[in-house]
């Protein structure tokens, strides 16, 4: 008898819960501390925050531990936690001009204003599995007595984030000018900013109003920012090789850094910095090569997500631009808004495991009806 038919479903689910709990208790190894997860599994924690749509390294680490390393499940835990908390306020608009960068690279210019800052990246660390004996490996990995090895007073970020001031000549490399400024000076990008007298609409809050095709760009960006990284990369990849796209975009800049978040003080009304969050920001440049487009200029796509996730931010920027250029001709915008959320896609998939015998019986009934109809010569 299958589980769905089990009498005493309550007993069954309680027993399943016990099994989950006891396998943790029976494990011989130490429990993983939150600091370990935040510092040593930082990229996974960042993904959980990004897909869960909540900046909180500690809660994300808790979720990741509880989910036994399943990033998607951990993101779902964060989302459900969000639902239990009332929405009290919106932050002030955060300008990424204030980003204090840990890393900043440009693929478009050899030496962009503000310089390249390679920062901490595994991009150039040989992709070789370390096969040292575990004991020796652990000794190598042990903390060194370097002053800047741990934390910088944020208490909620990467353990290995290096962001002490760097200056070259009179340039503050932690606050490089944005590349888009240079491109505008060169008159190389199409103007997409609304005129001076245009309204500045509030961003679309996809957590409060369902975003459907025809929604403003802020809704598309929010959906992309919370998208499941794998789904996002897949959609970007598939469209990159579609017939409407001749080349690939070139990231003007990829930045990873700290961004202050301000809210209006409830008493004084003045903006107060309540926290700093780490974000990855990408501005990507693409050719405008369709007949109806301005062939003399370029356009920019934008990507921003919680934590350090360059894959996500680059794919997001590429898709932001693709959605804009598509202009509603295809269902790309719908796919971005409706299909990229990992919690929704996985939720629907998971629900296939629930009993469906009522509708299955209905399906069998129709199959037999079709046969009965054709046996009668009923299929006209």
């Amino acid at each position: 008898m299958g589980f769905s038919n089990a009498r005493g479903g309550t007993e069954a689910i309680l027993a399943a819960e016990r099994l989950v709990r006891s396998s943790g208790e029976e494990a011989g190894s130490d429990r993983i501390g939150l600091a370990q997860l935040i510092e040593r599994m930082g990229l996974a924690v960042d993904r959980v925050m990004g897909e869960g749509g909540l900046w909180s390294p500690e809660l994300a680490a808790r979720a990741l531990r509880r989910a036994e390393g399943d990033v998607m499940e951990a993101a779902q835990l964060l989302r459900a936690h969000r639902s239990s908390i009332p929405r009290l306020a919106y932050s002030e608009v955060a300008s990424t001009d204030e980003l204090r960068v840990i890393r900043r690279i440009s693929s478009a210019f050899r030496n962009p204003p503000g310089r390249q800052l390679l920062g901490r990246t595994t991009d150039y660390v040989g992709r070789l599995l370390d096969l040292m004996p575990e004991d020796a490996d652990a000794a190598e990995d042990a903390p060194h007595d370097h002053a800047h090895e741990h934390g910088h007073g944020h208490g909620h970020g990467h353990g290995h984030v290096h962001d002490e001031p760097v200056t070259t000549g009179d340039q503050d490399l932690r606050h490089p000018p944005r590349l888009i400024g240079l491109l505008r000076e060169m008159d190389m990008v199409v103007e997409r900013r609304p005129g001076a007298d245009a309204e500045d609409p509030e961003p679309f809050d996809i957590t409060r109003v369902p975003a459907r095709p025809g929604a403003p760009r802020s809704a598309v960006l929010a959906a992309l920012a919370r998208a499941e990284t794998g789904a996002l990369v897949n959609l970007w990849y598939a469209y990159t090789f579609s017939t409407v796209k001749h080349g690939h975009e070139i990231p003007g800049e990829v930045r990873h850094g700290w961004l202050p978040v301000k809210v209006a003080h409830p008493v004084t009304g003045r903006p107060v910095t309540v926290t700093e969050i780490r974000v990855t920001e990408v501005e990507t440049i693409d050719d405008l090569d369709r007949p109806e487009e301005d062939r003399s200029r370029l356009d920019l796509g934008y990507g921003l997500c919680f934590g350090h996730n360059e894959r996500k931010a680059i794919a997001m920027a590429g898709l932001d631009l693709l959605v804009h250029r598509d202009g509603g001709r295809t269902e790309l915008e719908q796919r971005v808004l409706i299909t990229l959320d990992g919690i929704e896609a996985c939720g629907f998939l998971e629900h296939l495991k629930l009993p469906h015998y009522v509708d299955f019986r209905s399906l069998l009934d129709r199959k037999r009806a079709v046969r009965g109809s054709s046996a009668d010569g009923g299929a006209r």
Partner: protein
């Protein structure tokens, strides 16, 4: 207010008392209630709402759960079913979530419930004006199968332009001889909006029409709520000359209670797929097995006997030209199983679902022979 604030939040206190740990804050519950009111005011219209993530996977009833949590209070009596069953793991899980949150009582008798949350079924016991039914909806958009662009779907609903839906039903009949939509059959509500009544079986669709209770549909993943208010016209889409068909197996009834007027699901048995047999048939078999009367007499007690009493001469006998439904039965453990049936009215064979093709062939052959000439006694 049942709200939660994490310690250290600068704005703590602004939301009033914030002590109870919950899965759904009060402001969100209010928002869902507003969507529910709109849905009731415009029957069948899919109201978008800011669906929250619940502590169950999206697809495990997060929409129904939000509607239920928005309505439920400590004085309520809640029944939760999945596939019509109280005891399934999913129903049990949702029930403990809601009851844990709202402090309400849980019941299994539909008549005692004030609120029923269900997945895929409308309870067999008719519900009253005092009760609310919440159905979990996986895919709320009935037009999804004919148009994929959501902008076009919205236009079609706005203009009540359901031509493509009708064409797809027509094509279905032309290609397949029958309407092949199984569960979640498209229905017109109040003569205005087409809805997908969740994957309830077609058997349950007539229960929606002019029902005494309020039915609310919650789709969490797709972020929509819609409603069938009490005493509202609900018509399954079909043509005048193609009657709407509910799931039906001739001669089948519940193995446990003998009910033939309820929705029956099939259960695989060790010797193959079976239908749950009719109580009358079982009674006839029992009489024969107990040696009280020969089998053909026992069968006559539930066939030609009642026909004669009712004055019906065109049925009850296996003779050429008579309207007789035929069933082929095997008996195991004292209980008969209908293997194959032939409906005299529709002239359709159905239910070739036996353990082996050879057995099915044999039964079918026997029946075809039986249908061609009088056979007494039939066995």
């Amino acid at each position: 207010m049942t709200t939660t604030l994490r310690p250290g939040t600068a704005l703590r206190g602004l939301a009033g008392d914030a002590e109870t740990t919950g899965i759904f804050d009060e402001l969100s519950r209010r928002e869902v209630r507003r969507a529910v009111l709109t849905a009731v005011a415009v029957p069948g219209y899919q109201v978008p709402f800011g669906s929250r993530e619940m502590p169950v996977a999206r697809g495990w009833g997060s929409g129904g759960l939000q509607v239920t949590l928005a309505l439920v209070g400590p004085e309520d009596r809640l029944k939760v079913i999945d596939q019509g069953e109280d005891a399934g793991v999913n129903a049990a899980n949702l029930r403990r979530l809601v009851c844990g949150q709202a402090g309400c009582d849980e019941v299994t008798d539909t008549r005692e419930a004030t609120l029923v949350q269900s997945r895929h079924r409308i309870p067999e016991t008719p519900m009253t004006e005092e009760q609310v039914l919440v159905l979990q909806v996986p895919v709320p958009e009935p037009l999804r199968g004919v148009v994929s662009d959501m902008r076009e779907q919205r236009r079609m609903h706005a203009e009540a332009d359901y031509a493509k839906m009708w064409v797809s039903l027509y094509e279905d009949i032309v290609r397949n001889g029958v309407v092949t939509r199984s569960a979640g059959y498209p229905c017109l509500v109040n003569g205005r909006y087409v809805i997908s009544p969740t994957p309830i079986p077609r058997f349950d669709v007539p229960k929606l029409d002019h029902s005494a209770h309020l039915t609310l549909f919650g789709a969490g993943r797709e972020k929509r709520i819609y409603a069938v208010p009490p005493h509202t016209l609900v018509e399954p889409l079909t043509f005048e000359d193609v009657p709407f068909e509910v799931e039906h197996t001739s001669g089948a009834a519940c193995r446990h209670c003998g009910s033939a007027g309820t929705y029956l699901v099939e259960e695989p048995a060790r010797d193959g797929t079976i239908y749950l047999p009719a109580a009358m048939l079982a009674a006839a078999m029992r009489l024969a097995a107990d040696g009280l009367v020969p089998l053909h007499r026992a069968v006559a007690l539930v066939t030609s006997g009642p026909a004669r009493v009712a004055g019906l001469t065109d049925r009850g006998r296996l003779v050429p030209g008579a309207r007789a439904d035929l069933v082929a039965v095997t008996v195991a453990g004292g209980w008969p199983t209908v293997r194959l049936s032939h409906c005299a009215l529709t002239r359709r064979w159905s239910g070739i679902v036996a353990a082996t093709p050879a057995l099915a062939d044999e039964i079918a052959e026997t029946l075809r022979a039986a249908a061609g000439e009088p056979v007494t006694p039939w066995r």
